[in-house]
């Protein structure tokens, strides 16, 4: 009986020891560990391969699915942990800074980085919170905007050009206005040359439908809101807004079947598989169009600047790399950012297909020669415009996406949709800012 009890006691002690061992922290290493979180797309893959060369820390990159990207980062903030270096969309910055989740990098950037070499538009959109405050919370890791990808072989085909001229009286060329783009798209949709004329990601998911439509609205002369007064009603749902939605309805009608539910994959796929003549998407997806193994139409694709209309605006993309307020290695994180932003690393970044935040890199031969669409990027970037980056951004985005998706796919009246968006967004803003917009 005594032996039995001793045995039992030893078993209990062993169980406690194993439990304790499993809770012990990992053995300290010579180099600090840094973690980055971004969403899964080609630039994240590029960053993953690039960080392997960093000598002063063990850096891991998590490329999470797009739908979980924001949730992952903010859930980590809620748990006061997560990645040391979260890469956030510009629209997330207001919310992240308001919650005290990011390190203020203003002084450090000015002392340790070529601050004046950064594209100031990008810096302001990606990093400055609030707007005009001069406080910076991230360093641009990728600048991005929208590009037009088109079937160069069809646009240069003599028979197609003749048919277009006969049908419209105009010469077939890369469109320089949205009106011209629609005309070309409708021609291709009605022809036997190809199934559809134009596609973009019109699905209500994340900011997809919004970023596909916003620059149409802005180019038509409209706006999402008045940032000075935080007024939406009467600004968004005016005649210009209605015209922009109705225009998008015609674009959707000129697209492939089911384009109303297209995400990034479907949009890339529809031009790569030869279904559609033109698409409009982020430059960051450029690598997908130059890989002949995965894109059947790669040799036939051309790249152009997204056109304007009455005005010329293109949706801003790209993200900045921030340092989490909960990072255990903030100094190591800063050192990593400095390395990433160095001339040598930025050259490797652009040669791998990345887009830089620094003007000198943007103008370099390394960038301009890295991809066939890069020469158009610099021109496109001068037209960028962003939407709200206030803490209430996500609520505003969801409201817009819900009704806009229905409207552009022809399942809701344009005016009715915009009125609903304006009303609900105004309610959100009035509740959040009962005394009016905050003063800078």
């Amino acid at each position: 009986m005594f032996k039995t009890k001793i045995t039992k006691a030893l078993i209990v002690l062993l169980a406690i020891a194993m439990l304790s061992l499993s809770l012990m922290p990992a053995v300290a290493q010579d180099k600090p560990n840094l973690s980055i979180v971004w969403f899964a797309w080609p630039p994240c893959d590029l960053l993953t391969s690039l960080v392997a060369e960093y000598p002063d820390a063990n850096v891991t990159v998590s490329c999470v699915p797009l739908d979980q990207w924001r949730d992952q980062i903010f859930a980590d903030f809620a748990a006061q942990g997560g990645a040391d270096l979260p890469i956030l969309d510009s629209q997330f910055m207001g919310e992240a800074v308001a919650g005290g989740h990011l390190v203020d990098l203003t002084d450090w950037m000015k002392e340790n980085l070529p601050f004046d070499d950064y594209n100031q538009t990008a810096l302001s959109y990606y990093a400055e919170v609030p707007d005009g405050s001069g406080n910076y919370y991230s360093v641009p890791v990728i600048t991005d905007t929208r590009m037009l990808v088109y079937r160069k072989d069809l646009f240069e085909n003599a028979d197609v050009m003749a048919a277009y001229n006969e049908a419209t009286g105009d010469d077939l060329r890369v469109p320089t206005s949205w009106t011209e783009l629609l005309q070309i798209a409708q021609f291709f949709k009605d022809s036997d040359v190809i199934d559809a004329g134009y596609a973009s990601h019109w699905i209500n998911s994340g900011d997809l439908v919004q970023t596909a439509w916003n620059h149409i609205l802005w180019s038509f002369g409209g706006d999402l809101w008045d940032p000075a007064t935080y007024q939406v009603e009467g600004v968004l749902n005016n005649d210009i807004g209605v015209a922009a939605v109705e225009f998008a309805q015609e674009l959707v009608a000129a697209g492939p079947t089911g384009v109303g539910s297209f995400g990034f994959d479907e949009t890339v796929g529809t031009i790569c598989n030869g279904t559609t003549a033109m698409i409009e998407i982020w430059y960051g997806f450029g690598g997908a169009f130059t890989n002949a193994e995965t894109c059947g139409q790669a040799p036939n694709l051309g790249f152009a600047v997204v056109p304007g209309e009455a005005q010329h605006f293109i949706s801003l993309g790209g993200q900045g790399m921030s340092i989490s307020a909960y990072s255990q290695n903030p100094d190591a994180a800063k050192a990593f950012i400095a390395w990433l932003q160095s001339d040598e690393t930025q050259t490797k970044w652009v040669e791998g297909g990345g887009f830089p935040g620094r003007n000198s890199i943007l103008a370099s031969d390394a960038f301009l020669n890295a991809a066939p669409y890069n020469p158009t990027f610099a021109e496109a970037f001068q037209y960028v415009k962003d939407f709200w980056n206030i803490p209430e951004y996500n609520e505003l985005l969801e409201i817009q996406g819900e009704y806009l998706n229905l409207a552009v796919s022809g399942q809701m009246d344009a005016k009715e949709a915009l009125d609903a968006i304006a009303s609900e967004q105004q309610e959100v803003l009035d509740e959040a800012y009962p005394d009016g917009p905050p003063q800078p």
Binding site: K8, P256, T257, G258
Partner: protein, 315 residues
């Protein structure tokens, strides 16, 4: 001699002079408690505490992101009132109901029908049953993904629709009237085998002598089905309905991948709405309240079904 020496070494003497074993306190009950305590603590921190804490938060105006450094502010039942008077909340429950009712009904009818066909011996029965069970063994995300590919505008479903049946392509995922049925189709494809399995178990348990007795009395097929098969299988069918209803009610992963809640919000179920409120807007208080509203609804529904089950058993 050795035993008595050993016994002496393991005994201690209490102040009253009584001799008791040195490790007498190390009883089997103590050991049992030692092994159970970590599990109970884990259960407490993972299940009990979050339940109680979220109930408290549902009465506060707190955001885990915006108010990370401030204490929750008590606002009473304001969250519940706001949710129950918000059209959006009711719309999400309507969407959920519009999914659960047809999905479970079709799964029941199809599953039971297939079970009736399989409830006999024939060559290849085992292989056919195995093949029929495959859909429910797959990951819901994988199922939703490949159905999404098939339901694209130029996907295989429309290929056959256009070329075999000569009809216009169907907007499976982007039409507000069709997209909810796309969710139902995928769920039926995946979970009908579950209904079939439960139904088959019930059919196998029906005593054969009942059918033999009915045959002697010249009872027809319909009579045998209505008065023997159905009553005998009904308890198991109700159990299957309870399981599927509760599962369908909390549909999330398939809907997120297949439609993302779109077009608009016409396929956004209550679970997806809860995710939006709690993790999209990080409105923790309101999200907790919505979670408890959903819990009350499904508890009420489950109670109704369990009462029906008990009534069937007692009959």
């Amino acid at each position: 001699m050795a035993d008595s020496q050993l016994a002496q070494r393991t005994r201690s003497t209490s102040s009253a002079g009584q001799i008791r074993p040195r490790f007498g306190w190390f009883t089997d009950r103590w050991i049992a408690i030692s092994f159970l305590t970590p599990t109970m603590l884990l259960l407490l921190f993972i299940s009990i505490f979050p339940l109680v804490w979220s109930l408290y938060l549902s009465f506060t105006d707190w955001s885990v992101i915006k108010d990370a450094n401030t204490a929750p502010q008590w606002i009473g039942t304001a969250n519940y009132f706001e949710l129950l008077t918000d059209d959006r909340t009711w719309q999400r429950f309507v969407v959920t109901g519009q999914f659960v009712l047809p999905a479970v009904t079709i799964e029941l009818l199809l599953g039971f029908g297939v079970a009736l066909l399989l409830n006999r011996k024939f060559a290849g029965r085992g292989a056919i049953m195995t093949l029929l069970l495959i859909p429910m063994m797959l990951s819901p995300i994988v199922v939703a993904l490949f159905w999404r590919f098939m339901m694209q505008g130029d996907g295989v479903l429309n290929y056959y629709a256009v070329n075999l049946f000569g009809i216009e392509p169907i907007l499976w995922l982007s039409d507000r009237y069709v997209a909810p049925w796309s969710l139902v189709i995928v769920d039926v494809w995946m979970w009908t085998p579950f209904m079939m399995l439960i139904s088959l178990a019930g059919l196998s348990a029906v005593p054969q002598y009942l059918y033999e007795a009915a045959a002697v009395d010249r009872a027809g097929t319909w009579f045998r089905f209505r008065h023997i098969t159905l009553p005998m299988v009904m308890p198991l069918l109700l159990i299957a309905i309870i399981f599927r209803t509760m599962d369908a009610y909390k549909l999330f992963d398939q809907a997120v991948v297949l439609t993302g809640g779109g077009p608009g919000r016409f396929t956004q179920t209550a679970s997806m709405y809860l995710y939006d409120v709690a993790f999209g807007q990080f409105n923790t208080g309101e999200g907790s309240a919505l979670g408890y509203i959903m819990l009350i609804v499904i508890t009420a529904l489950a109670n109704l079904l369990i009462r029906a089950l008990n009534a069937t058993k007692s009959a």
